[in-house]
């Protein structure tokens, strides 16, 4: 097994190569505005570091969000196209699951990322491998009761200490964790989600009212 994992659903541009047992090489950068520019060079770097070529991969794993749309699509489109060109399967994984896996917390906890517009993408976990609810998008104040007393990880949790007083690292998802989680699930014969985006919001679009009258009154 040789997996390429990538995630651009959050401000992190993160890439990893995993051989089924270990992460061979990885790269993580945080730049909310340059997913499109940074992802391919990162893939190139990671393969160079691994001493491998892209065509050696047996599968692609991509974070499907939730995340602000523009960046999210960069990873999904890249993964889809790699899959097309190489003829290998493309698997999706919830980005929050990657963060949960990396948190290594045993008991119940919450993962929250920044959804902008004063909202968070969030999900509740029983342990680092088991999601209980979500993902959903909400205002932190509106979910305060549901997350009260729980430890929390992710940039969304760190951003709103009133709602998440027990917030801590990791702040960003890493493709290394995503790849390790996928390798574990695939080895166990689990089916991974399709690589389709979790937008969780409808597109912003107003149906125009009747056209504007231009005759001066």
């Amino acid at each position: 097994m040789l997996l390429l994992a990538l995630d651009t659903a959050t401000p992190a541009i993160t890439v990893a190569v995993h051989d089924g047992t270990d992460v061979i090489a990885s790269s993580s950068q945080v730049d909310a505005r340059r997913h499109g520019e940074l992802l391919l060079p990162a893939v190139d770097r990671v393969f160079a570091e691994a001493g491998l070529k892209l065509d050696a991969v047996t599968g692609i794993v991509v974070g499907i969000g939730p995340g602000p749309y523009t960046g999210l699509r960069v990873g999904l489109m890249t993964a889809d196209t790699f899959g097309l060109a190489l003829g290998v399967p493309v698997h999706g994984l919830c980005t929050l699951d990657g963060l949960a896996y990396a948190s290594d917390i045993d008991g119940p906890f919450v993962v929250a990322t920044d959804a902008r517009r004063k909202e968070v993408y969030w999900a509740r976990y029983a342990d680092s491998r088991t999601r209980l609810t979500g993902p959903a998008v909400d205002r932190p104040a509106d979910i305060a009761e549901q997350v009260a007393g729980l430890p929390a990880v992710g940039a969304g949790a760190l951003l709103y200490p009133d709602t998440f007083p027990n917030a801590h690292e990791p702040q960003h998802v890493s493709a290394a964790a995503l790849a390790a989680l996928a390798a574990e699930k695939l080895a166990a014969g689990e089916e991974l989600p399709a690589p389709r985006p979790l937008y969780l919001r409808r597109p912003d679009a107003q149906v125009p009212k009747n056209y504007k009258v231009v005759t001066p009154k």
């Binding site: 749309y69 699509r73 889809d80 196209t81 790699f82 597109p203 056209y211």
Partner: protein, 363 residues
């Protein structure tokens, strides 16, 4: 000819997911998936709706284009993609796909200009572009008069709209007339049964002191809307066919008059017309008449090549390969306001990315 470059082009600057394949100046495939129906109820293109649709449509459209062309991806000589101008989020989907495809196949990537592509597509229809060529590009997003002596390196803006694009005016008037979206085809259809001289609508920027090659359609749009509202206020029926014909005549009169004038002034004897509005039947007829009268050869591609498509991007990409232009680097960005004067986005001269990813990765 087998030694001409085989190039796949990807276009996602607006609401069409286009994937085209060309060999030199020969069109092999032109696959387009449009999200126009999803925008219709909004009365215009909604960027986020377009971006979502591009992501869904891309892989199936690439597949379809390869099948249509009957070629194998590994035989491609390059991947071209619209790097701009256009809707930022929409462009980014295409650029991401093109980069990943080029990288995975080990092919050079060419980020090209959407406007230059609209001009270059005519090579697929009428053979090599004459040099120089004057180009009138008219669509819902652009109205420009461009002069090119070499489509891969020299595109000069002569004039452009100072307010609305011509296609936008069609959309707005169609909305005032309750004819739906997009407005171009439906206005064209009604206009065929109307009298273009029934109503004298204004011709923007045609006064003696006005800029020679710039356009303005905002005043015309307002005048037409006012005329219709006055009719309605008076309780009279609006003569939709005559309004459509007279409005359309005002638009194409100015477009063709200024384009022919630019050709004469610059001593250019070829005019090409591209963009979605180039599908307008009256524009094609009037341009033909006026060009003939002025001794100018008119080149207008078939309507499907005038609207946004991947073949036009492939056509310009193939020309980049033919003329040995440098490829783009892996950090190519989508540039929503890419200047028309940049026909492509070559890698910086010291391109470490390509040095790393060349021989050692695909040897």
């Amino acid at each position: 000819m087998a030694d001409e470059p085989l190039v796949l082009g990807i276009e996602t600057s607006c609401d069409e997911t286009g994937v085209g394949i060309v060999r030199g100046t020969t069109l092999l495939a032109d696959a387009v998936a449009s999200s126009v129906d999803e925008h219709a109820r909004f009365g215009g293109v909604v960027p986020e709706v377009a971006s979502r649709a591009h992501l869904e449509a891309m892989v199936p459209t690439v597949d379809r284009a390869l099948k249509e062309a009957g070629v194998s991806a590994k035989d491609l000589d390059g991947i071209a993609v619209t790097a701009g101008p256009g809707l930022a989020g929409a462009l980014l989907v295409g650029v991401s796909a093109a980069k990943a495809y080029a990288y995975a196949l080990g092919k050079p990537l060419y980020g090209v200009n959407h406007l230059a592509s609209h001009i270059c597509v005519d090579q697929l229809e009428h053979g090599a572009l004459p040099e120089p060529t004057m180009a009138l590009l008219v669509s819902g997003g652009h109205s420009s008069l461009l002069l090119s002596t070499d489509i891969t390196s020299d595109v000069r803006p002569m004039g452009s709209t100072i307010d609305d694009a011509a296609g936008e005016a069609f959309d707005k008037i169609a909305r005032v007339l309750n004819l739906g979206f997009p407005g171009g085809p439906v206005i064209d259809r009604y206009a065929r049964e109307g009298d273009p001289e029934a109503i004298a609508f204004p011709r923007g920027l045609t006064g003696p002191r006005d800029p020679l090659y710039d356009f303005s359609f905002s005043g015309l749009k307002t005048a037409v809307a006012r005329w219709i509202e006055a009719k309605r206020a008076a309780g009279e029926e609006v003569p939709v066919r005559d309004v459509a014909a007279s409005f359309q005549e005002a638009v194409v009169d100015v477009l063709t008059r200024k384009a022919v004038r630019a050709c004469k002034d610059q001593g250019v004897d070829h005019l090409m017309i591209g963009g979605g509005v180039a599908a307008n039947s009256r524009l094609r007829v009037l341009a033909q008449e006026r060009c003939e009268a002025a001794g100018i050869r008119l080149r207008v591609p078939r309507p499907k090549l005038c609207t946004d498509n991947g073949a036009m991007v492939a056509a310009l990409g193939a020309e980049m390969v033919t003329r040995g232009r440098p490829a783009s680097s892996w950090d190519l960005s989508a540039d929503s306001s890419l200047p028309v004067t940049d026909p492509h986005v070559p890698a910086p001269t010291h391109d470490h990315v390509h040095e790393v990813s060349g021989e050692n990765l695909y040897s």
